[in-house]
Symmetry: C2
Subunit: 304 residues, 2 copies
């Protein structure tokens, strides 16, 4: 069976640049070079797109959990949609795909980056190829019990691509160009793996998720301080003890008080306020590339 | 009767920085200096705020039209709300206010600016005072039959304050600081007018609305080109013949072809795509300050 890749945009309905790129691609099939690889491209959450919202009932990118599918709660649009996407494009689905690439945008100043969920060998191998090619940072999201059920985890190999900063519901030339570039680079690298003609780096830089922190809140639970102007838009930049974190309008600056230093990401992502996340802290680490990652990706692509 | 000023934030429910500032102000009454002037502060569209949307049924800031009130369409939330605000704070309302200040944000790179609807003398006088104090540009919105029913028009004097760029639903330190600064500056100037101790400039710079242009669209009416990277975020900067306007993914650049040059504003405001507005064109003009503007503002403040 030939390799098939699932491409998803609009998993969040108000992240519209990828959706728009896919729409244009549907009009002119040569817009994106897929290197002859069969792709299926879908709008993750078309209902939320119509409504101009992130989701209707529940974050689709937290809905890919078997226990949710089993309850078959058809009144929850996103759980039904997650189930539908797995039935259509999952490994035992109608159009089985081996790799899923999920294109997102963020209001945080993340530039372009890759998000890897857990430490699956094939994911790390594919992310390494892209980091080697484009220099993109990799955010390893793991050990977060509150955030689970991500789309890409339902496929043997999958990455999230995050590009920002961009407001929700806003089309932007830079974001579209970056999305197109990374999509084509991913297809090129997958093509090279298919041809066993790929070059893996010896090292990769990982930003490993440690924890998330909330905004300052008042007694009623309302946010009563915002990200300090000296921290706003400083994603990927080290946060050290006594650095400014939040500011309250009574003049109080809330500083970072831990001895340990971190690299914050997703600073002031608009959609995370409801998840009680003002930003996430990572550790920047240099990892050795492992041979088994390469083999795992080759196995996925060649469906061994 | 003493002077009363109506302050509105969240006329659009997803423009949250002003709402947040008002909430904090409610907690600490000394946060904003109103120079002893009685103010009423309200969330324009609290239902839309809850829903995280610009509006529920209809743009509230296009709903202040008598013919809409007369139909008393109570199933339209915004028309009811507009009617309610006029009944509560209008000139013949329960808490009559003479001036309305309406705080907005935009996804366009407008910086801080004032919007004046039509050429009411008192509006132009108050805007002149702020331009003289803070140097803010003034956008004179007029002669646009498609856009009517603005909130401030229901009060004897009223200005819209627009601050950007900021994504919808996103709290930002810079936007909050700018909102607070302009609010205090407005209150200070109104206080000076009340004390007949105000200094009006001899000239003011007006950006007079000429027309709006739409995005390029395909045969189905879908947007098929975005604002060109060389025009994105270039609000207030002159657009001349042959300058880049839009870009299509087939490689086509759409240039500005008129001989006349303009100053574009509200370039790529996310909420205007549905109104078929990619940007608006203005003419930058130097106007002489007229004595009758001053008298009109004094009359409003002193309720003559």
């Amino acid at each position: 069976m030939q390799l098939q890749v699932l491409l998803v945009a609009g998993t969040h309905g108000n992240e519209i640049n990828g959706i728009w790129l896919f729409d244009e691609w549907n009009k002119s099939s040569f817009l994106i070079n897929t290197y002859g690889i069969k792709t299926f491209r879908v709008i993750g959450n078309p209902e939320a797109k119509k409504a101009g919202k992130r989701y209707i009932h529940h974050d689709l990118n937290r809905s890919f959990q078997e226990e949710l599918f089993l309850t078959r709660n058809s009144s929850n649009f996103e759980v039904s949609r997650a189930n539908e996407l797995v039935n259509l494009f999952g490994q035992t689905g109608k159009n089985p795909c081996q790799i899923a690439l999920d294109f997102h945008t963020t209001t945080a100043s993340m530039g372009s980056c890759l998000v890897v969920y857990g430490r699956r060998d094939a994911d790390l191998a594919l992310a390494s190829l892209i980091q080697n090619e484009l220099g993109l940072p990799i955010y390893l999201h793991e050990s977060d019990q509150k955030q689970t059920g991500f789309l890409v985890e339902s496929w043997p190999c999958g990455l999230v691509i995050e590009i920002g900063p961009i407001g929700q519901g806003l089309l932007n030339s830079r974001i579209i160009s970056q999305t197109k570039l990374i999509l084509e680079s991913l297809m090129e690298q997958i093509h090279q793996v298919k041809n066993l003609n790929c070059f893996f780096p010896e090292k990769l830089i990982i930003h490993r998720h440690i924890k998330s922190i909330d905004f300052p809140r008042d007694e009623q639970g309302n946010i009563d301080g915002y990200v300090h102007s000296r921290r706003q838009s400083k994603d990927w930049q080290e946060l050290k003890k006594n650095d400014e974190l939040f500011f309250k309008l009574n003049g109080e600056t809330i500083r970072f008080e831990e001895d340990e230093s971190y690299v914050p990401v997703f600073i002031n992502e608009a959609a995370y306020a409801e998840k009680n996340i003002a930003m996430s802290f990572t550790k920047r680490e240099l990892w050795d590339f492992k041979k088994e990652w390469k083999q795992s990706l080759i196995d996925v692509v060649h469906q061994k």
